[in-house]
Point group: D2
Chain length 387, copies 4
Amino acid sequence: MIRFLTSGESHGRCLAAIIDGMPYGLKISEKDINLELSRRRKGYGRGERAASIENDIAEIVSGVRQGRTIASPITILIKNRDWQNWSEVMCLEKMKFDKRFIMPSARPGHADLAGYLKYDSEEIRDILERASARETAARVAVGSVCKKFLSEFGIRITSYVKEIGGIKARNVNIDIDKIISASEQSPVRCLDSAAEKNMIKMIEKAQADGNTLGGRFVVVVSGAPVGLGSHAQWDNKLDARLSLALMSIQSVKAVAIGAGFNASELSGSKFHDEIYYKKGIGYLRKTNNAGGIEGGISNGETIICDCIVKPIPSLKKPLTTVDLKTKKSVKAEAVRSDVCVVPAAGVVGESAVAVEIAKAFTEKFSGDTIREIKRNFSAYRAYLAKR
Amino acid sequence: MIRFLTSGESHGRCLAAIIDGMPYGLKISEKDINLELSRRRKGYGRGERAASIENDIAEIVSGVRQGRTIASPITILIKNRDWQNWSEVMCLEKMKFDKRFIMPSARPGHADLAGYLKYDSEEIRDILERASARETAARVAVGSVCKKFLSEFGIRITSYVKEIGGIKARNVNIDIDKIISASEQSPVRCLDSAAEKNMIKMIEKAQADGNTLGGRFVVVVSGAPVGLGSHAQWDNKLDARLSLALMSIQSVKAVAIGAGFNASELSGSKFHDEIYYKKGIGYLRKTNNAGGIEGGISNGETIICDCIVKPIPSLKKPLTTVDLKTKKSVKAEAVRSDVCVVPAAGVVGESAVAVEIAKAFTEKFSGDTIREIKRNFSAYRAYLAKR
Amino acid sequence: MIRFLTSGESHGRCLAAIIDGMPYGLKISEKDINLELSRRRKGYGRGERAASIENDIAEIVSGVRQGRTIASPITILIKNRDWQNWSEVMCLEKMKFDKRFIMPSARPGHADLAGYLKYDSEEIRDILERASARETAARVAVGSVCKKFLSEFGIRITSYVKEIGGIKARNVNIDIDKIISASEQSPVRCLDSAAEKNMIKMIEKAQADGNTLGGRFVVVVSGAPVGLGSHAQWDNKLDARLSLALMSIQSVKAVAIGAGFNASELSGSKFHDEIYYKKGIGYLRKTNNAGGIEGGISNGETIICDCIVKPIPSLKKPLTTVDLKTKKSVKAEAVRSDVCVVPAAGVVGESAVAVEIAKAFTEKFSGDTIREIKRNFSAYRAYLAKR
Amino acid sequence: MIRFLTSGESHGRCLAAIIDGMPYGLKISEKDINLELSRRRKGYGRGERAASIENDIAEIVSGVRQGRTIASPITILIKNRDWQNWSEVMCLEKMKFDKRFIMPSARPGHADLAGYLKYDSEEIRDILERASARETAARVAVGSVCKKFLSEFGIRITSYVKEIGGIKARNVNIDIDKIISASEQSPVRCLDSAAEKNMIKMIEKAQADGNTLGGRFVVVVSGAPVGLGSHAQWDNKLDARLSLALMSIQSVKAVAIGAGFNASELSGSKFHDEIYYKKGIGYLRKTNNAGGIEGGISNGETIICDCIVKPIPSLKKPLTTVDLKTKKSVKAEAVRSDVCVVPAAGVVGESAVAVEIAKAFTEKFSGDTIREIKRNFSAYRAYLAKR
C-alpha cells in the first residue's frame, strides 16, 4: 500500500517527504523529481520567490539504490535555499529574532486565525509556516515518483488551465500528447491561445491593482485501465479519493469529476455516456461526461478532474483584519506574493492525482515489484480482451 | 475515533451499518434514525419505490442500552420490506431464478460495466446491487447518529436545493432555523418559492419525456467551533475530508466549499472574508466565501458544502449500450425510477457531513463520553473567550 | 484491502460483523461459518452456556449471492438465542429491570473497573457486555470466511493445545493433516494423549475448587507462500500484525512466533534455521524456529504462532474487590462460567490469524476476484520455481 | 492522531522519520533525542559498529521552532557517519562498485531470502539494508519525542533485562526510580547484580565461540492513567497495539503483558489482581499480573511489557545456507557483529511503547496542544477522584 507523509515549514530548513510502499525496481532519479518541481514553479503571475528562491532541488536520501527503488521507503529532501535569512526566526532552539517577523494580525483567507485559536499558539508564524502552499513542493516530489511509476504502465497525467480571473478558455477536444505539448508551451498552461492572451492581460491588471486571481485547472489521466477503485464501500471510491487529494491542495475550493460542474444543467439523456464496442479494443464511450469514473470505478476512458482555485489570499493591497492584542481593526500584512497560481496549482493537482491513481493501481495489480505488477497487469489486459 | 462500514445490496435481505467509536452516554433511539430515513425518501420527483417499498425502518441491534450508547459499536439494520419478491434472485445459495432478472447489457452512467469488467463477474446484478444509491439509506442511518451526537454540542446540519435541471434559486441569506423550516416545507427543499414552482414544472416535463434531472444542493453546518481539522498534513484537512465523504455519494459529481464554484471569477479582494472582533463573541467574518474552513481548519463560521448532482442514469427512455454477449448495440434496460433525486441527495449529504464533523469533533475534544467531551468543550470555549 | 468490524453485546440481540474487501467469486455458505462456530464452543472445561445457549447459528445477510461472494461487504449476524431473558436488562430504550442484574462491584481481571472509570459509565454492565469473550464468536465468523478464502490457495490453518494449568504436552512433529485430525478428536485439542489425560484431571480439580485454568495454544498455518508481509515499515511486518490480532483475543496474554518462547535460551547457532535447496521444490529450512517468518516476511515454511492464555477471571469462588458505592471490600460476583477456555481460544486464534494472512495475501496477489488472484498467484509460483 | 513513518537504509545516506500529529507546545531539543540514541548504542556485547560508527546525532529539520513543537510534522534525520565508505555500493544512480559487497547467499534468520524472493530483487543487499536493526535508531528518535511528551504528564518509561542466554535475573520489586538508576548503571541493564556477572561471562563465552545470545527485557510504564485503549473493538485494545509495536522490533520473537509468560501455570485465583480502595488515591490492585491492562484498557497500575529477544542471526561462525546462483550448500557470510543486543533492544522497546502510549493518550485527552491536554487531563483526574 502506497502512503506518504510530508513535512517542513515554508521558511524552515527543508521540506521532506517519506513515501512508503513504492514497489521494487522502479527506475528513478532526482532529475525525474526536479523536472516536476520546475514545472510547479512556472506560470505567468508567479512572484519573485517562486522564480528565484524556490529554485528547488530534490535530494533522494533513501529508498533508491543503483538507479532503482528497492522497496524501502523513499525519503526526499528539498532544502530551503534561503535558510541563512531565516535561521533566527525559525531557529530550532529558543533564540532572539527580529520582532518584525512576528505577525500582529491574522490574514483573511489563510489558516492564520483558525490555527492560532485551535493550537493556542504564541505566534501566527507557528501556523502559517506549515499552512503555506510551499508544502506542495513536497507533494509534487511525491507525485513525481508516482507519475514515474504509472508511466511504466502507459499511464500519463497532465493538466491545463481552463479559466483565470473569469476569462474562460474554449473547450478543446485534443489528445493527451497535444494537451501536453500545448500546455507546456503556454505561460498560463492554457490550450486556447485567444483566452491565453486575455488571461495574461487580466493577470497584469490584477498585479497593477495589488490584487490576485483564481481560476480553474483540469487534470487529465490517460491510459488508466478499467477497474481502479471500488463501488463497494464509500471510502474506496476512486472519485471520492481523488476529491480528498485535490481538495487538500491549499488553494483548491471546488472539485468536479468529468463534466461535473455542468451536471446540474444537463438532462440524463444528455449527460450519460453511451456505450459501444470496437473489436480489438473493447468497450468504449461516445462521450466522457463521467470523466472516466462510474460508480467509483475507473471505466477505461480518460480520467478528468476539474478544479476551481481561489485567488490566493496574500494581497499587496491588504484586507481588513484585527490586531490580536488590541482587538482593533487593522490592515493585514502586505506580502510580496504571487498574483495567480492557477497553472502551478494544476501541476500540484497532477501530483495529487498521480498518488491516488498509483495507490489504486497497486491495490489492483499488487504492490511488490515492477516486474510482478507488469505480469499481473498484462494478464488482466489479456483477460479484458476476451471479455 | 469514529469509523463505520456499511453493507447490503439494494434488493438483498437488509442494509446494515456498524459505527465504531461513538462515545458513551449519547441518548438515542430508533426514532432519531427513522426520522432521517423518512427525510431521505421525500422530494418531488422520487419514484414509487422510494415512496412505498423503501418505507425504511431502522433497527438498532447493538451499542445502545437503556436509552443511551454504551461505547460499544452500534449496529443498525434496515430490512428490505420487499424481500419476498427477491429471495430467489438474491438467494444466498445457488438457486434457479427468473432469467429476466439477468441484465443483458450495462447501463451507461452506472457502475455496471466498469464493475463487471473489474470483478470478472458473471452477472451485472452482482455489481449493481451494491452500487445502487439504496446504500445511502445505511449512510443516512450512520449520519443520523452523528447528527444526534453533534446536537449535544449545539451543532446543527441541514441542506437545501439551489438548482434543479438548470433552474437556479436566488441566493437567500437566512439563518439556520429558517433554512430548516423552509427546506422541510418545500417539496424540492428549495428556499426560493418562485424557483420551486419552476423546478416542479421541470421535473414534470422530464417525467413526461422519460428523462431525469440533476441539480445542486447545499449542506449547512451551524454551530461548529473554530478548530476542527488541521492544516498540518494533507489528509487531515477538514475540507478535504468533507470532499471525500460528499463525492462518495452515488450521484454527486462536484463538491465546493463555501463560494468555491465562483472562486475562479472573484478577485482576491472580493473573495476573502475580512475579519472583525465583537466583544463577548470573539472573532467574526464579514462574509463567508470560505465556507467556514480556512487552511483545512474550521474557523467558527457556518460550514457550507455545495454539491452538484448528476441526473440519475436510470432512464425510462433508455440510452444506447452493448449486449454483453453479442457485443451488438442495444438499448439499455428501461427501469422504473426516480426523475430527480436532488432533494434526497441533500439529505444524504447532511449525513456524510455529519460523520466527518463528528470525527473531527471527537479528535479535538476526546471520544470517550458525552460528559467528558462536554467538559473538554466548555473548557475550550472558556479559553477562546479569553484569547 | 480486507478489513472488518465486529459488534454486539454478550447478552444483546445479536453479534454482528461486516467484512469489507473480500474478493469476488468465493464460494461460501452459512455452513462454513457454523462449522467454525461449533468448533469454538467445544473443549473440555467449557461451562453450560457455551454448550447450550451459545449454540450459535450464523446468518449471512449481505455480500453473498447465488452461492458466492459478490465483492460487496459481507454481513454476518449471530442472534442471541437467549434474548427473551435479557430483553429488559438490555433494552434499547430506558426501561425498568431487575436490579439484581446491576453489578455492585468490579470483577478483577475483567475490563470492568478500567472501563467503568474510563467511560464514566453508570453501570459496569455497560462495559462487560462488550468486553466479554462472547465477542470472539463474531471474530470466528469473520475468520471462517478468511479461512475459506485461503483454502482456495492451499493454505490451511489449525490449532492445538500445548499446555493447560501447568500440564505441558510433549512436542510432536507431525504434519498439518495429522495435527488437524488429532486436535479435532481430543477434548482439549491436545496432540499428546498422556498429557491430555492429566489436563482433563486438572480441569476437573479446578472445577471442584471453583477455580479456573490458563494454558497455551499454537496456531499453525500450512501452505502460506514466501512473501507475505514486508520488512520495509514497522507496521507492515507480518509477525507484528499477527501479534496484534492474537493479543486482541480476550484471554491471550503472551504471543510468540515460532520458538519465540525459548529464544532467550538458545544461542544463535542453535536458534536460526539453516537453509538448503531441493530441486523442484526450492529453498527450504532444516528447522523452523523462526516460525515461518523472517524479517517480517513469510519465508514459505509453516507459520507458527504460540500463545499463552490466562485463566479466565470469572471465578465461582470469587476474588476480593470493592463495592463501587461504599468503597468497602467485598467479594466479586460469582458467575457460572467456564473453567478452561484454552482449546476454544485456539480456535479463535485460528480466526485471528486467518484474517491477517488473508489481508497479506490479497495485498500481494490483488484483492478483486478469486480467478484473478489465482492467476497472479500461479504466475508468482512459476516465477519462484525459476529463481 | 500521532502516526509516523521511518526510512533509511543501514549504510545509506541517512535514516529519517516523520512524526505527524505531535501536539503544539512541547519543549524539545535534539539533546532529548540524542540521549536516547546513546542509550540504544550501549550494552555489554555490542560490537564495534554500535560503539563507534553508530555514534548517531539526530537533527530535527522540521516541526520544532523556538524550542517547542508547532503542531506541524517533525522530521528527524540521522546521518550515516560512514557514508563515504558506502557511497558507491549504495549510490543513488547506477554505478560500478566492488563486487565483494554483493552477498552470494542469504543469511539464515534474516529477511534476506524471503525478501529476495518476494521482491524479485537483483541483490540481497537491496533487502538487508532496510531490514537491518539499524532502522531502530529512527524508531528510538520517534520514541524519544513521545517520551518527552508523556513526561509532561508524569508518565515515565524505562526498561531492564531479565535474562540473557539462559541466565535469569531474580525478580525484584522496586519502584520506577530505582529501576531507572539501577538499569542505567548496569552494563547489561540488569537489576540483579549476581545475574549481571553471569550474563557478562556468558556474553564473553559466546564472543569467543563466534556465537550470539538472546534474552528477555521488560518495559515499564509508570504513571499511565486508567483509561487508555478500549475494549470495544479488537484493534483498539491497548495490549494488542503494544504487541504490534514490540513484535515489529527486529529481534523480538515473543511479547507478554504483565505476568503473561507465566499465565499458563497459575490458576485464576492466583493470577488475577484483587482490587482495593485507598482514600485519596482511589482504586488499586494488590498485585499486577495483568501488567496494567485489563480488557484492553489501562487500569492505572504500572504497564509492563515483557519481551523475548532472539540471538541475533549475524554470526562470526556462520550457519549453512545456499549459494543463490549455483544452489549449492555454502556457509553464510561471516559478519563482524554484536554478540548480544538484549539491553539495546530494551531501549528500542521503550520507544515502541512510548509511541503507542502517546497515541492512546492523545486519543483520550485530545491532540492539539500541551496546554489543552493538561487541562483535559486534570479535569479527568478531578473526575476520577470523585468516582
